[in-house]
Symmetry: C2
Subunit: 168 residues, 2 copies
DNA sequence: TGATAATTGTTATTCAACATATCAAATATC
DNA sequence: GATATTTGATATGTTGAATAACAATTATCA
């Protein structure tokens, strides 16, 4: 067996010296930490994680919350319209609506002027749920973000992300 | 059935008047555009999309690129260590490595001092690929982002995202 | 008008990302 | 030396995202 780098490392470790990349040390992210896409993704996961935690009492995912918000602001639209503006494909939106409708949060009503389409409406229960959901988001989730970043930075962050979404 | 809002809308449409939310108009995002998580996710999708476009000649996904970067900066680590720092679960990292190794970009070497683990190394080919990949990322992908945001804003954005990742 | 095309919601299906349980081999612990 | 832990791997399940195809309905336009 040849004297390997790991053998050297082992010897150093026996002497309790720090080794080249000390095996017990956190890895170097290197250029990864400069990659916007990488950091963006990790930040997004963190934020969704917190969102789910804050929303646990209501059992609403970010996607479901976004649907309810959109229905509130745009009552009477059909499935295609809602799905499109959320970037959800129509086939995948079906089961999503099934879930919300079976919980009594929204309803599909056959449109009278285009009997192919379903008009989407929040139910009373859906509106109540949305009120509580908004409160949780504002007081737990976004409040924590505001605390971390400060309102100015938070606004700047949102502005840049919006720019990316709209102009990139 | 009561006279519904949709009925009113229908009547108005018959008169060719613009209705409350004119059906042909883009939907109102409303509070959705103020939701950091929502905007963050959409921005992330946009950026990954562009990354894939820029990287198409090399056929590298963001995840694969991040592995190669990490192997370059941390040669000789084992699968668990690399997977962990990338937030990839060890079972899922296996097939990922299979892909990279079958393309000759990296190799697993049985460790001599712990024969359970595989030391991961970039191959010569992997290093060459990485050089080209970095060039594409810098000159096409990140350059476009810099053009959109400006270097100062880009740095500020990255700093805030990093803060979220590390402190949220 | 009537034939043809397009749209809507839906189903089926595929693919990738993500997660858990389990295993044999090797190592660590005590 | 018996027991527990770690490592890479397999199997498997779940979810999100994507495409093709279908019946019902509506739009188009010759």
């Amino acid at each position: 067996m040849t004297v390997s780098k790991t053998a050297v490392a082992e010897a150093a470790r026996a002497r309790k010296e720090p080794v080249e990349p000390a095996e017990t040390t956190a890895l170097q992210l290197g250029e990864l930490s400069e990659l916007l896409g990488y950091t963006l993704k990790r930040a997004q996961l963190k934020i969704f994680e917190d969102f789910l935690r804050c929303m646990a009492p209501l059992q609403l995912t970010p996607a479901q919350f976004s649907v309810l918000l959109l229905l509130e602001k745009n009552p009477g639209r059909n499935q295609t319209e809602i799905a499109n503006t959320l970037g959800i494909l129509r086939p995948n939106f079906v089961s999503m609506l099934d879930g919300l409708e079976s919980r009594g949060l929204c309803e599909r009503v056959r449109s009278t002027n285009d009997r192919r389409s379903h008009i989407l409406l929040l139910t009373e229960r859906g509106r109540n749920m949305l009120v509580r959901a908004k409160r949780l988001v504002a007081n737990k989730h976004e409040a924590r973000l505001n605390e971390l970043l400060g309102p100015t930075n938070r606004a700047a962050l949102l502005a840049m992300l919006t720019k990316i979404v709209n102009e990139f």
